[in-house]
């Protein structure tokens, strides 16, 4: 057993009202020597102002190419119990809903073979189990995948589909215009092979929000962002609007003046919306949940290209399909065919570590649209181009 080291710097982070991660590491360390060493190494990082993890290291389970991230200490002589401290990603249930049995059985496995420390959840969505040795990885996977109830599978890592994730959805949100939970579950199962066996130029992420509030930030952190929306008129309950006003709600200040397209009006008795000019920003619906509801012709907008700064700078998704019907139980065939076309083009044309959005910029949106057989429409741009350097297809000019 490693001697328990003093951690004066980390101890400072046990103070204060917000829950302390140092207390969590200490709770785990009371039962587990690798967590003790983690605490020691982290204290050293606080002294040295740098991480003490080595670069990379490949580990995995049989039949899978991803789901485990290798991690080795660069000071193993001081902290032998975290010489190896690998991460296991487990695919979370849609929307991060759990019953306690499902969580407890993961805890039990992690108590036996891991550090006892987790992230609920990693930013991609997975349950992240932090810190185990190479020799336990297969055993952990065999045990979680054989739970009698709620068996668990690995999440994604490496150059593959990353674990799709979604918002709270129709289970707990009145705004959900698509069944985000069903869609997320269905797509994860459909594309398991892409998730588990890295085969692409780089990572590809899908995130699904039930409405344009985008609670899972799909536009900023996924290559493929799916956001529920509607096409017909906002439903107004005039009686409920009048109740809001009668109750002292500042309808002019909080709603009418804040509508970005100025398409909503209140005459003191009736609320009217010029729906043809509404951009479905959700603001009025968010503010008057009892009085306003999205229309009935529901589906999703699909945006493509979102990613973090490495390499070509941060990007947010671009509208590619302004509206697609996505009814639960439909099999989502149109969406799946669309995704296959998109990935095929990227896989064929992308360079190593080139994200979808970067490839679209390198080869041009027109080439991408042609490859996936979509017509250009004004909804795809904020404004048409301003520069005169543009390409023609050979068939558009007279060839000699």
């Amino acid at each position: 057993m490693t001697e328990t080291k003093k951690t004066p710097l980390l101890d400072e982070l046990e103070k204060g009202p917000w829950p302390s991660f140092v207390k969590e590491i200490k709770k785990a360390a009371a039962h587990n020597i690798s967590s003790q060493d983690l605490l020691g190494q982290l204290e050293l990082s606080y002294e040295d102002k740098k991480a003490h993890w080595k670069h990379g290291g490949l580990v995995g389970v049989m039949g899978y190419g991803g789901g485990v991230i290798g991690r080795y200490s660069d000071v193993p002589e001081q902290f032998p119990n975290i010489e190896m401290f690998h991460t296991i990603r487990l695919n979370q249930p849609s929307g991060w809903y759990y019953n306690t049995k499902a969580l407890r059985q993961v805890c039990d496995v992690w108590e036996k073979y891991g550090s006892g420390l987790t992230n609920l959840h990693g930013a991609t969505g997975d349950m992240v189990l932090l810190g185990t040795k190479t020799e336990y990885i297969q055993t952990i996977f065999d045990e979680v995948s054989n739970f009698e109830e709620h068996p668990m599978d690995l999440g994604g890592s490496g150059s593959n589909l990353r674990t799709p994730s979604c918002c709270a959805g129709p289970a707990r949100c009145e705004f959900a215009m698509i069944d985000t939970l069903d869609l997320c579950h269905d797509l994860t199962n459909e594309f398991q092979d892409y998730l588990h066996r890295p085969m692409w130029p780089y990572k590809s992420k899908i995130k699904i929000s039930g409405c344009p509030n985008d609670c899972v930030a799909s536009i900023a952190r996924s290559d493929i962002s799916i956001q529920g929306t509607w096409r017909d008129d906002i439903k107004i309950n005039q009686e409920a609007v009048r109740e809001y006003v009668a109750g002292g709600f500042d309808i002019n200040g909080m709603v009418i003046s804040k509508c970005p397209t100025k398409c909503i009006a209140w005459d003191g008795n009736e609320l009217t919306i010029d729906n043809a000019n509404c951009t479905r920003c959700m603001h009025c619906i968010n503010k008057m949940t009892k009085a306003l509801r999205p229309g009935d012709d529901r589906g999703a907008t699909i945006l493509i290209g979102g990613k973090a700064p490495i390499l070509q700078g941060a990007m947010m998704g671009w509208v590619i399909v302004p509206f697609m019907k996505l009814e639960s139980g439909s099999g989502y065939e149109e969406l799946k065919e669309f995704l296959e076309k998109v990935w095929e083009w990227w896989d064929e044309n992308g360079k190593t570590r080139e994200r979808l959005g970067e490839l679209i910029l390198r080869l041009g949106m027109r080439n991408f649209l042609r490859a996936i057989e979509l017509e250009p429409i004004p909804q795809m741009v904020m404004a048409p181009r301003a520069n005169p350097f543009f390409f023609w297809w050979p068939e558009e000019t007279v060839q000699d």
Partner: protein, 354 residues
Amino acid sequence: MAQARTDIGPPLYKEMLPPIIKENYGKWQYHEIVKPGVLVHVSETGAKLYTVRAGSPRLISIYFIREICDLADKYCDGYLRFTSRHNVEFLLSDGSKVDALIAELTEKGVPVGGTGNSITNIVHTQGWVHCHTPATDASGIVKSVMDELFEYFTTMKLPAKLRISLACCLNMCGAVHCSDIAILGIHRTVPKIDHDTLHKVCEIPTLTASCPTAAIRPNPKLKSVEIKAERCMYCGNCYTMCPSVHIIDAKNDAVSIWVGGKISNSRIGPRFSRLAIPFLPNNPPRWPEVVNAVKHIVEVYAANAQPGERMAEWIERISWEKFFEVTGLQFTDKHIDDFTLAQTTFRSTTQFKW
């Protein structure tokens, strides 16, 4: 030993939903915030689902998980969920149990809040705890900032929602670039190369191709590479590709602050956060400079924004030049973009403010 099974897929979410949700799935009509941290969703059927939202440090032990499971068993028939911002949500079908649950959570030091016009939990990454590329820690800064801004988690007194996020390097796992306030670890020096090991552990063409500014070129004499210092903007991507390139530099690695981003389409659409403070020192264990800077920006915003205005809307209304004036933050050459598409951020109008 158990037989390996593969490709079984994620656990079925339907098995994780309490009966009240199964019965009212897709039928929710509206919701209200009962008080900070407590939501009630009301169904077309009249059923009411209460949610109690609590903060977590994200890095949690199985002992914490078992404790919240005990509470979920006691108050919620064994059901709970997590949010994309690392909060825990207890799902109650019996509203009369809400206060007792809150009392137990409070007693355990687990704060309830994060709804409506509040600062909810800080989305963050791994930092020194578990990653090999960080310029700073994640959990320690988050803890220090949340301790200081605690009252904004447990109350809803801000003009609008305020989302803070942290990434410990430019990889931005968790993509923090569209937040009201983003805390981002940065490197500030050119990576050092270990010429002796490089050719053994790295592929030189892949390495040269990895650089977004084409700063790396082969050095055939040394069977290695060299970096043109004046082109490097310290992104660390080369280090990701090759362990013989060292980007971590404890003397110079630092923290930057970004403001005015958002994700939702509500009113003004999604937008990136913009640089507010290019450099704050890495000062563990409590990063006082970072904590003070974030607190200062929150307080100036809270005092000046109109009701309902997110950080981005407030800044758009008053202008960036006024933002720097009212916050007293220094505007430097670092605030003027010099990467791809920099020109789209330069001003091409005579309309500006003094």
